[in-house]
Assembly symmetry: C2
Homo-oligomer: 246 residues x 2
DNA sequence: TACCTGAATTGGTCTGACCAATGCTGCACG
DNA sequence: CGTGCAGCATTGGTCAGACCAATTCAGGTA
């Protein structure tokens, strides 16, 4: 019987969890490729020998995790790049408080320099070119005034891109989630951002250049400087806001 | 009618998502405190004017996000500290991607030394004493032969403990999840572990001593050495297993 | 008082039904 | 022949009600 696959994990765990893990495994093993459409719920439920109810609970979980995506009337698809972006259900549920914010920022300070360093060591030519094109694409909107928080989007995209160049999926996901939560918890004042944005873009360029020239230490240092700068921005802005409140 | 609260977000989103966001909001607003028990599913479904099916899909999502926790026959509770469990989005993502072990290990190599360093700076006396007691408790079982994989449990406990001393909840969660996944992916041969365990325990002691004496660099170095040693163990063992297979 | 039993509570799973969005097929018309 | 639209098939979304299984707790018994 097809459903026997699900018996492996301890009989104790919820069925929906076992189903979700099973589907994850099939994705990993290549039975379902990224971009593929999964079988219809009714059919998949029969294949796995579970009710549609339980299957759907599993799919909702996978959707929250950013692994699949369901479209009403269209079907359920495996995401190409499982993204824990701001619009992901997970991010929508999680509200970063100020306590968490400094914690999350510390995770960035620890992980991101190491990511930049490793990217400079391991990135292949294709990846470097890809990152370069990304920066070129960011250039105009980044420097122009009044494009509001698109800068935040670009910032996240760049940092996620550096993470991707390391080839380490685990780190990429961790840092993407952390950055999403940080950006969610802190929304900069769009008006004040002109010079800051230029500076941030310059630092991004510096990181990229170091990666392109295969200089791990320089890449690490550029990232450290970037984070340091941004941290100071955030601190001063928070202080200003406190003054306004008083 | 109670269910009208749910109409606010665009009528487009799935009902289960709207429910999940609504519950999140009530948690943030204090209607449900961390540790509280939520109303029974049947009752909550009536309150929100939705079917139990949809409510359950929402609760599964919240559980995956680490916000609530359901116990069969017990009830559903708001988590005190939203935890990244094995059913967390990140865990599922790793499950869905190939070859996680080396990636996960690299996360440890990056994060754990930094954790040890910060623990040596920030830990309070209570925390240090707590870690010391933990090691004392580990001592006998760790060094005795034949206690099987309890060593793995102790190992996870110690590393989680160091993370806790930093006071950074986010990092604690991340490293706890990573270590769980690593240990799940790699089960050492219990028979060969005698000397190795003694060595690991000695390194744990070294890390602890450095933290106790407030020597950040020493703590970092001890952790680096520890991870390096364990990594070598794992590599040689994997190679041996390959030989057996041939 | 301590322990055990059983009923009430509560989450877990299943079935089958119907609604709603999407996509496709084939026919009619230009 | 090509184009556009109507209608049907497909597929996800929601619902109601039933029954199973783990936990909890009150009440009774030793």
């Amino acid at each position: 019987m097809a459903g026997d696959v699900l018996v492996q994990p301890a009989r104790k765990e919820r069925l929906s969890l076992r189903i979700a893990l099973e589907i994850c495994r099939e994705i990993r093993d290549g039975s379902f490729q990224p971009g593929d459409q999964l079988p219809p719920e009714r059919e998949l439920a029969v294949q796995l020998d579970v009710s549609r109810t339980s299957l759907r609970e599993a799919l909702r979980g996978l959707e929250i995790a950013g692994i699949v995506e369901s479209r009403h009337g269209g079907g359920t698809f495996v995401r190409r790049f499982s993204a824990l972006g701001v619009e992901s259900p997970l991010a929508m549920m999680f509200e970063a408080s100020h306590d968490n914010l400094s914690d999350l920022w510390e995770v960035r300070r620890i992980v991101e320099p190491a990511l930049a360093e490793r990217a400079a060591i391991r990135a292949d030519a294709t990846g470097v070119a890809w990152l370069g094109e990304m920066l070129e694409r960011h250039r105009q909107p980044y420097l122009r005034e009044g494009v509001e928080n698109s800068a935040q989007v670009f910032d996240r995209e760049f940092h996620a891109g550096v993470a991707r160049l390391t080839g380490n999926v685990a780190m990429e996901q961790v840092i993407q989630l952390v950055n999403t939560l940080v950006h969610r918890g802190y929304r900069p004042d769009p008006g004040l951002a002109g010079g800051r944005r230029r500076q941030a873009y310059a630092r991004h360029l510096a990181v990229y250049e170091a990666i392109r020239r295969r200089e791990p230490q320089a890449a690490r240092q550029a990232m450290v400087d970037h984070l340091q700068e941004v941290e100071e921005y955030i601190l001063t802005e928070i202080i200003e806001r406190c003054h306004e409140d008083v």
